[in-house]
Amino acid sequence: MIGLVYNEMLKMVRKKRLWVILGILVILIPIFTYAQAQTLERAAKQIGTSDWKVVLKQQIIDQQNRLTSSRLPEEWKAFIKLNIQQQEYYLKNNIDPTAPGAPTFMRKFVEESVSLFLPLLVVIIAADLVSSELSSGTIKLLLTRPVRRWKVLLSKYISLLFATSFIVLSTAILSYLLSGVVFGYGGWDLPVLSGFQEKNGALLTEFVHLMPQWKYLLMAYGLSWLACITVATVSFMVSVLVRSTASGMGIMLAAIISGNLLMQLSPTWGAIKYFAFTQLRLTDYLSGRPILIEGMTLPLSIGVLGAWSVVALITAFVSFSRRDVLA
């Protein structure tokens, strides 16, 4: 089995997809870093100080102003209100949620990229894992060996899990190394608040507590990894079912993007909760960022993601070991 997994990882490395992904990260992270630095600088310039308390206060006021707009939908208002409450809590407890530093950037980056950017990177690897063997015909050489089909598929899945882990960790490491050039490399021990809970539109601070940023980061990247694994697993199934890599990738992109869109456009439509790609923002539970969709809880999110993964895996394995290979 180790030999099989090694085979798959070797192919993945030699196919250069992983390097393409690293390349994307190396190009995009500096851009995001620059954008973030610009935003901070502009805010500081406009307010005339880089004192985070002033900035935070201004943000609260700005959001209060957005609240008075009558055109804003109710669910967005609830979202903003919770946000304000959280920021006031930070202010009251003298904790800067955006203290500059590469670790803070890492945190912001994973929170923003967990629902779209990271999944897209994962899809690049996952969507052609099986379909490329089908379309190139190499599947015929792979399946005429004295190895059971499910083992071949399992080795592919394990190597996909490794690759997904590698992508998530590379994102963390690269965003640290690259953004540190601008923001500095310190800030691992910075206290971060976590444990905000929401109940009936009010923010519960009963469980709010401080933790060092490194721990928070470990957990945030761990959660985004769970989300990415679900994406990887579903893409894996698509790659077994759809022979063409291009259509497989198209299907996955459409699914992920519509998940993101649905989350924004119709947060009141309860059924979308059961669509895996609206549930990717697991890090929100950690940061206490208010959840837009009604009735979404952590157990539900984990349950939906888990159920999708299991069903996808079963479908992939059943289809793969039964199917006639006509490629």
């Binding site: 990882m9 209060q64 960790l169 590379s170 957990m219 761990g222 959660l223 990894w225």
Partner: protein, 269 residues
């Protein structure tokens, strides 16, 4: 060749398993954390020992009030306050900073509440110029009608307004004895309508009230706006017929800039 091969084998696996395990640990930790939340470990509030290090910028503006200070009605989104800051910046070598604490739709009662919050008072401490617009929402509803044409009710609102303005100014002074406060007066957005006579009367009465309160305090300047919009409201008001448009805000900003620059000039002499 052979050891090369083995090295590659080992390194690929080490990287893969290491990243897998690290993230697995992270996800397990977070699930434990989220499913069994710990009780709060905060001793609120962590006694503001470092009383917010205020950076030494000159010309610090902290503005208060309602939608006028927000700049509602200005297509460019600036409002008089940003126009003013830009003008001031031109004649000043150092950075002119602005913290805009105004809340759209605020009444004097809202502002009174806001001014009592510790965060607000902290910010006021370091201010040098405090522009302020308030009262429009007390007297007029946002919809553009008089809140209540019944003179008795308006009179009651005026008394509240008087009391609030007094409180607000007292509070600002308590935090900051040196800053100059510029309070804009009210104007009548309905000067060209049939009820103009009555509304004019109200606006005049309220402005008089404000001025009376202001007279009790040092370094508070009343800036009339009544005259700016009286003759040709259409030209200076936004399409909602209530907020100023860009031209209107420009006129307000001009007045404020003039006063500030004059005053600064006198001071430096």
């Amino acid at each position: 060749m052979h050891s090369n091969h083995r090295m590659r084998w080992i390194s690929i696996f080490v990287v893969a398993i290491a990243s897998f395990s690290i993230l697995l640990i992270g996800s397990i930790m977070s699930l434990i954390e989220l499913f069994r939340p710990q009780a709060s470990n905060l001793q609120t509030p962590a006694s503001q020992k470092t009383a917010s290090p205020t950076s030494p910028t000159i010309g610090r503006i902290v503005s208060l009030g309602d939608s006028l200070t927000r700049g509602i009605g200005d297509d460019s989104g600036k409002g008089y306050i940003q126009l003013f800051r830009e003008q001031l910046q031109k004649s000043s070598k150092s950075e002119v900073s602005l913290i805009n604490l105004s809340v759209s739709g605020a009444t004097s009662t809202d502002l009174r509440k806001q001014i009592s919050q510790p965060e607000t008072s902290n910010l006021l401490k370091s201010a040098e110029i405090i522009p302020l617009t308030i009262g429009g929402n007390d007297l007029f509803r946002g919809s553009g009608r008089l809140e209540n044409t019944d003179p008795a009710t308006v009179e009651k609102a005026r008394l509240t307004y008087q009391e609030n303005v007094d409180f607000i100014l007292k509070e600002i002074r308590k935090q900051n004895s040196k800053a100059t406060i510029f309070m804009f007066g009210l104007y009548n957005p309905f000067g060209d309508l049939s009820e103009a006579k009555q509304t004019n009367e109200f606006v005049a009465k309220w402005n008089e009230t404000a001025q009376q309160v202001i007279a009790k305090y040092d370094r508070v300047v009343f800036i009339p706006t009544y005259d700016l919009f009286q003759l040709d409201p259409k030209r200076y008001l936004f399409t909602d017929h209530f907020h100023p448009n860009q031209n209107g805000y420009q006129r307000m900003a001009n007045r404020l800039t003039q006063l500030v620059i004059d005053q600064e000039g006198m001071e430096t002499k």
